[in-house]
Symmetry: C2
Subunit: 212 residues, 2 copies
C-alpha cells in the first residue's frame, strides 16, 4: 500500500500502468527525457490530461525540456509496487485462457498466474507453461490454500455468474472479466470488464465518426 | 456516418458501445426506465459522467423517473450504425485469434470477421466457424479483393510492426492491437490498443490503492 497514491483520482490511476509501460520502453531505449506531446502521441491520451495526471505525481515538466524519464520510471515503479508480485488464478482454460497462460506477465509486470482451473478432464492435472491446471470442483480448496487475491475469468458467459459467486465466497478481491456478462458482486469486490465485442465496436464507431 | 455524433467528445464516444450493450440488456429484460445511479452501478462509470454524456445525446433524465430505455436504445442503435456491418480481418490464428473467431460478434454487434490470416500451413485453407483462413503471403491481394477496413492483430509482438506496415499499405483504416507492441502508423490510421498485461496490472493497482 502506498498512501501517497491515495490522493490520485481514479481516472488518473487507471492510466498509470499505461504510462509505466511506455516510460519503461523509453528508459530501455536510452531516452532521458520526454515531452507531454511525445507521451500523448505514444499512449493516445491528450497532452493536457497527461500534464494534469503528472502534476498529481509531483512531476512537473519544464517548458522545452519535458519530463525526466528516470524520475518518472522510479515514481511509477514505486507507485505500482513493482517489487511485490500478486498471485492470480485463471478460471477457464479455453483459447483465451490458454493465450493468457502463454503470455509472460512477469516480463513487464507484477502479477503471476499461479494456478488455472477448468472442467475438462483432459486439461486437469496438466500444465501450460509452469501453471498447473486443477478441476473446477477444487476451486474453493485450492484458492484457500494458495491465498490468491485476483482471478481472470475466461469461461463461457453462461457460467460467469455462478463461478463469480464461488470466487467471492472463496475470498477473491478482484476479477478481470473477459466474458460478456455483467457480474453481480458485493461492493467490496472490484471487477474490471474487458468486452472484446465492445472494443471492436468502439474502434468501428471512431472510424465512422472521427475520420481524419 | 452520423453527423450529429460529430459533436460528441471522444471520451464520451468511447463509452457509447458500453452504454449500448447495457441498454440492450435492459430492453431485453423488459425494463422501461433506468436511473443514472443504476446505469452507473452496472457500467462502472460515475453517475455525474453518465448524466453529462447523456446530455450530449439530448437524453435528459427526469428526477425520480430516470431515462426512457426505448429512447436510449433507438438513439444508440442509430448512432452506432447497428444496421451496417463492418468487415474485419483477423491477423494471427493462435489461441487469442481462435478465441475471437469462436466469439459470435454479430450477436450484439455490427462487425463481422470475414477473413483470417496465419503463417502456419496446417491452418491455411481451413475454416474456424465460417471464417476462411488464408496464408499471410496473400494478405495484400485478399484484403484488396474484400474491402476490409478493420484488422484485429493477434500475432507475436516481434511481427507486429512489419505486419502493421503491410496492413497500412493494404489500405486498412483501423487496427485493434492485442500485441504489447506500440505501433507506428500514419496519423490517419486509428489504433486501439488492448494490452492484457496492463489490464491485469491496473486491476491489481486498484486493489492495493483503493480498498473498500
Amino acid at each position: 500500500m502506498n498512501n501517497d497514491s491515495m490522493k490520485i483520482p481514479q481516472a488518473t490511476a487507471k492510466r498509470l500502468p499505461l504510462y509505466y509501460r511506455f516510460i519503461q520502453n523509453l528508459h530501455s531505449s536510452g531516452k532521458q527525457r520526454v515531452s507531454s506531446a511525445e507521451l500523448s502521441e505514444a499512449v493516445k491520451v491528450d497532452s493536457a490530461t497527461i500534464r494534469r495526471d503528472f502534476s498529481y505525481f509531483g512531476a512537473l515538466g519544464k517548458k522545452g525540456y519535458g519530463y525526466n524519464v528516470s524520475y518518472l520510471l522510479s515514481f511509477f515503479r514505486k507507485t505500482l509496487d513493482q517489487d511485490e508480485v500478486t498471485n492470480v488464478a485463471l478460471i477457464g482454460v479455453g483459447n483465451l485462457g490458454t493465450a493468457f497462460l502463454n503470455y509472460n506477465f512477469l516480463k513487464n509486470n507484477n502479477t503471476k498466474i499461479q494456478v488455472a482451473f477448468d472442467v475438462e478432464e483432459s486439461k486437469v492435472n496438466t500444465k501450460i507453461g509452469d501453471v498447473p491446471i486443477y478441476h473446477m470442483d477444487d476451486l474453493e480448496k485450492t484458492l484457500a490454500d494458495l491465498h490468491v487475491p485476483v482471478a481472470i475469468l475466461t469461461i463461457p458467459q453462461t457460467a460467469a455468474q455462478t463461478i463469480t459467486d464461488r470466487l467471492v465466497a472463496a475470498d477473491i478481491k478482484g476479477i478481470l472479466n473477459f466474458t460478456p456478462a455483467r457480474l453481480n458482486v458485493p461492493p467490496e469486490i472490484r471487477v474490471h470488464h474487458i468486452d472484446l465485442a465492445i472494443e471492436l465496436q468502439s474502434l468501428v464507431y471512431f472510424l465512422k465518426n472521427y475520420p481524419d
